[in-house]
C-alpha cells in the first residue's frame, strides 16, 4: 500500500520535471555505458573524449570547474597529468616585484579558458557566447542525448522558408534550430591513437561521455555507494518488518 502510494506520487511528479524545457525535435535515445544503477564510464571513451575537447571544443568553450588533476579519473597516471597540464601556459602572479608572469600549467590549475572573459568570447564569436561545458549535460534536459544529438544534428541547408543569417547554422535539436556554432566535428578531423573509428558518430559519442563525466565526476562512486546503502536499508527494513510482525502477533487490529 505504502509503496504503491509513493510510487504513484513519484510517477505523477517525474513527468512534470522531465517535461519542462527542450524544444526542437525528439532527441535520439542512445545507449550509454553510464546509464542505469550499475553504469560506469568507459575510460577509453573518456580519454578520447578529452582529446576531442582539448583539440576541438576548447578552442571556444571553457570548462572552468575542472582542474587538470581531475584527469587522473580518466585513467591517466600522475606523470601523464603533469605532462598534460604543462602543455598549457598559465598566467600567474603577481610575483615579488608585482609583475604577472607566465609559467607552464600544473595539475592544480583549472582548465585554461580560451577567452579572457565573456565579452572577448562574444566579440570573436559574432555576438554569441559559447557556454562553459563543465555542467552542460546536467544543464539540459536529457543532457547526454542532447549533446550527442546537437553534435550530429547539423543539416546542410535550412528547410525552405527559413532564412539563416551569416554565421548561423541549421541544427535539428537546437532550441529554435538556429545555432551560431559551426559544425565542430566531421569524419577524420581528429586522429585517434587507439584505433577507434574516426567518424563523426564516434567523436560525438566520446565527447558526450567525457562531458557527462565532467558534469558528474562522482557518478560511479555515487552509484556504488547507493547500491550498498539500499542493500543495507532493505535488509534492515526486512528485519524491522519481521520484528513488527512478531510484536504484533497477539494483537487483534
Amino acid at each position: 500500500m505504502l509503496r504503491v502510494i509513493l510510487l504513484i506520487g513519484a510517477l505523477a511528479v517525474s513527468p512534470v520535471a522531465h517535461a519542462a524545457g527542450g524544444g526542437g525535435e525528439k532527441l535520439p535515445n542512445e545507449h550509454w555505458s553510464f546509464e542505469g544503477p550499475f553504469g560506469t564510464y568507459d575510460r577509453g571513451a573518456l580519454q578520447r573524449g578529452y582529446q576531442i575537447y582539448s583539440q576541438v571544443c576548447s578552442a571556444c568553450h571553457s570548462m572552468k570547474y575542472l582542474s587538470y588533476r581531475n584527469l587522473s579519473a580518466l585513467g591517466y597516471s600522475p606523470d601523464e597529468v603533469k605532462a598534460i597540464a604543462s602543455q598549457y601556459t598559465i598566467i600567474d602572479g603577481p610575483d615579488d616585484e608585482g609583475e604577472m608572469f607566465e609559467r607552464p600549467g600544473k595539475p592544480s590549475d583549472r582548465f585554461k579558458a580560451p577567452y579572457a572573459n565573456d565579452n572577448a568570447a562574444k566579440y570573436v564569436n559574432n555576438g554569441a557566447l559559447p557556454p562553459d561545458l563543465s555542467l552542460i549535460t546536467k544543464a539540459r534536459p536529457n543532457g547526454a542525448n542532447y549533446v550527442y544529438g546537437l553534435l550530429t544534428g547539423y543539416e546542410d541547408h535550412a528547410p525552405e522558408g527559413e532564412e539563416l543569417a551569416t554565421g548561423q547554422y541549421w541544427n535539428k535539436y537546437m532550441d529554435g534550430h538556429k545555432i551560431a556554432m559551426a559544425p565542430p566535428l566531421a569524419d577524420e578531423v581528429v586522429a585517434y591513437e587507439d584505433g577507434s573509428a574516426t567518424t563523426l558518430d564516434q567523436y560525438a559519442r566520446d565527447v558526450t561521455q567525457f562531458l557527462t563525466w565532467a558534469a558528474e565526476p562522482e557518478m560511479e562512486v555515487r552509484k556504488r555507494t547507493g547500491i550498498k546503502v539500499l542493500l543495507f536499508l532493505s535488509i534492515f527494513a526486512f528485519i524491522m518488518w519481521r520484528v513488527k510482525k512478531k510484536i504484533w502477533k497477539n494483537v487483534k487490529y
Binding site: G9, V13, A20, G21, S134, E218, L233, S234, A237, K244
Partner: protein, 490 residues
C-alpha cells in the same frame, strides 16, 4: 507540570536527574506507555517520517552551510565546489535537494491522511491548524532554499514569486523592495534569503513541538474516527508503534535514497545548472514540483474582476437564491430573520425571494448602466486576484475544521465526502500538471476549472454535506469493530 506523582527510578543517576527534571518520567509517559489506538494503518507512519525528514534536512543543511558562500558572485561556484571538492559534498547536497522533495511527499501524505480520516475535527482543530502553519513555513523555507544555488531557476523563481507581493494595494511595492533589499533580485536578496533559510527550520521545529504537544493532549485519531474508549482500544506506543514506525521510515528512506543516489536531478530543473543571469529569462519559469498546484491557481486568474463581472455574479446568485428550495438555505435565512426586514413583517420565506429579487435587480441595474453609459471599473486586477486565490487556497486549509461540521470523522463512514475528497485529490494532481505547463492553450481553462473545484470543495461541497450527508451508525468502539472484522474473516 510541577511535581505531580512520580514513580522512583531504580538507577540512582536517572533518579537524581528525574527528581529534579522529570524527563525520563515524561518520555515514559509520552512515548513509552502513551495509549495509542490499535487500529492504525500505514498512513499513520507519515508524521514520524516527516519528523525524520526535518531532522535530515537540518543536519545536511547545517553541514552544507559550512561550505556554501552566500554571495551572488560566488554562490554557484561554491555549490560546484561542494559537488566536486568537498568530501562527500555531492552526497550532502543531493540528500538535501531530494530531501526537500521527500519532506513534501511525506507531509502531503500526512495531510491526505488527516483529511481522509477527518483528523482535523473536534477536538483536534488546533492540532490541524498548527500543522498548516508548519506547511506554510515549509513552503517559505523551501522557496528560499531553492534560491540559494543561484542558478537560472533560482533567480527567476525568486523574481516571479517576490514580484507577487507587488500586487498588494498601497504597500505592495514597499514590501517587494524590502524583500529584495534593493530594486531587483540581487546580492542583498540572496544574503537575506540565506539568513532566513537557516532560521526557518528552527521555527518549524518549534511549531512541530507544539503540534506534537497538542497531539499528546487529544491523542491520535484512527481509521475508524471513533474515540478510543478504554484499554481494550489502545496499545502502548512502545514497542508497538516505535517498531512499526521504524519499519515505515526504512521503507520511505529506501525510496528517498533511491532518488538521491540514482536519479538525484530528476526532481530538479536542468536550468538551475546554468548560473543566474539577469539578462536572460528562461523560456519557461517553473517552481519546484511541490508548488505546482499552487502555481497553477496563481496563474488561473487571468482576468480582472470588474463591476460588470460582479453584477453578473449578483444576478446568478439571485437566481440561485430563488431557485434553491427553502430548506437548504435555512441557516442563512434564520440569520436574516433577525434583520430589519423581519421587523417589517417579512417571514424567512419572503426574505429568500426578496433577497433574490434584490440581487437580480441590482445586478441588472449595473449591467444596464454599463450598456448605456459604459460605466465600469476594475475591482481586483488579475495579478492581485491570482495572489489572493493562491493564498486563499491555503487559507481554506486553515478554515477546514470550521467549515466541515459533519459529526462523523472517517471517510469510511462518509461515502459522499469520500467521493468528493478523492476527486479533490485527483483535482490537485491535475492542478499540479497545469502548473508545470506553459500558461497557454487549453491549460488555462483547465487550471481555472480545477481551481474552481478546489474552492468549491471547501465553499460549496462541504457545507452541503454538513446538511445532506446522512450520519451512519458508527461502531461503538474500536475494539468492537476489530472483533467484528476478525469474525468476518473466519
Amino acid at each position: 507540570m510541577a511535581g505531580g506523582t512520580r514513580e522512583k527510578l531504580d538507577n540512582p543517576v536517572m533518579e537524581w536527574v528525574d527528581s529534579r527534571l522529570p524527563i525520563f518520567t515524561m518520555m515514559q509517559k509520552e512515548y513509552g506507555v502513551f495509549p495509542t489506538p490499535k487500529n492504525f494503518n500505514y498512513f499513520w507512519n507519515f508524521g514520524a517520517i516527516a519528523m525524520v525528514m526535518l531532522v535530515t534536512m537540518i543536519i545536511t543543511g547545517i553541514t552544507l552551510a559550512m561550505h556554501y558562500v552566500p554571495h551572488a558572485d560566488m554562490a554557484f561556484d561554491s555549490v560546484e565546489r561542494i559537488m566536486r571538492d568537498v568530501n562527500h559534498g555531492w552526497l550532502l547536497r543531493y540528500l538535501h535537494a531530494n530531501g526537500a522533495s521527500f519532506f513534501f511527499i511525506a507531509v502531503y501524505i500526512h495531510m491526505f491522511r488527516g483529511m481522509y480520516y477527518g483528523s482535523y475535527k473536534q477536538p483536534r482543530e488546533l492540532l490541524w491548524i498548527l500543522g498548516v502553519v508548519i506547511f506554510l513555513l515549509m513552503m517559505a523555507t523551501a522557496f528560499m532554499g531553492y534560491v540559494l544555488p543561484w542558478g537560472q531557476m533560482s533567480f527567476w523563481g525568486a523574481t516571479v514569486i517576490t514580484n507577487l507581493f507587488s500586487a498588494i494595494p498601497l504597500v505592495g511595492d514597499s514590501i517587494v523592495t524590502l524583500l529584495w533589499g534593493g530594486f531587483s533580485v540581487d546580492n542583498p536578496t540572496l544574503t537575506r534569503f540565506f539568513a532566513l533559510h537557516y532560521l526557518m527550520p528552527f521555527v518549524i521545529f518549534a511549531v512541530v513541538f507544539l503540534h506534537v504537544w497538542a497531539l499528546h493532549i487529544t491523542g491520535s485519531n484512527n481509521p475508524l474516527g471513533v474515540d478510543a474508549k478504554g484499554k481494550q482500544d489502545t496499545l502502548p506506543f512502545h514497542p508497538y508503534y516505535t517498531m512499526k514506525d521504524a519499519f515505515g521510515i526504512l521503507v520511505f528512506l529506501i525510496i528517498y535514497l533511491g532518488y538521491a543516489f540514482f536519479a538525484p536531478n530528476d526532481l530538479g530543473h536542468p536550468d538551475n545548472y546554468i548560473p543566474a543571469n539577469p539578462l536572460v529569462t528562461p523560456s519557461h519559469i517553473v517552481p519546484e514540483w511541490y508548488f505546482l498546484p499552487f502555481y497553477a491557481i496563481l496563474r488561473a486568474i487571468t482576468f480582472d474582476v470588474d463591476l460588470v463581472l460582479v453584477a453578473v455574479g449578483m444576478v446568478a446568485l439571485g437566481v440561485a437564491f430563488i431557485a434553491t428550495p427553502y430548506k437548504y438555505l435555512e441557516s442563512i435565512l434564520k440569520m436574516m430573520e433577525k434583520s430589519f426586514l423581519n421587523f417589517l413583517g417579512f417571514s424567512a420565506k419572503n426574505i429568500k425571494t426578496l433577497k433574490g429579487v434584490g440581487l437580480i435587480t441590482l445586478g441588472l441595474a449595473i449591467l444596464l448602466n454599463y450598456f448605456l453609459n459604459d460605466f465600469n471599473f476594475t475591482i481586483i486586477p488579475a495579478k492581485l486576484g491570482g495572489v489572493l486565490a493562491m493564498f486563499g487556497s491555503i487559507a481554506m486549509l486553515f478554515a477546514l475544521p470550521f467549515i466541515d461540521k459533519h459529526p462523523v470523522r472517517s471517510s469510511r463512514f462518509r461515502p459522499y465526502y469520500k467521493a468528493a475528497f478523492l476527486i479533490f485529490v485527483a483535482n490537485a494532481f491535475v492542478l499540479g500538471i497545469c502548473g508545470g505547463k506553459p500558461a497557454e492553450g487549453f491549460w488555462v481553462p483547465l487550471s481555472q476549472l480545477t481551481t474552481a473545484y478546489y474552492y468549491a470543495f471547501f465553499i460549496v461541497v462541504l457545507p452541503i454535506l454538513n446538511k445532506k450527508e446522512p450520519v451512519l451508525e458508527l461502531p461503538s468502539s474500536i475494539n468492537e469493530a476489530v472483533l467484528a472484522k476478525n469474525k468476518d474473516k473466519k
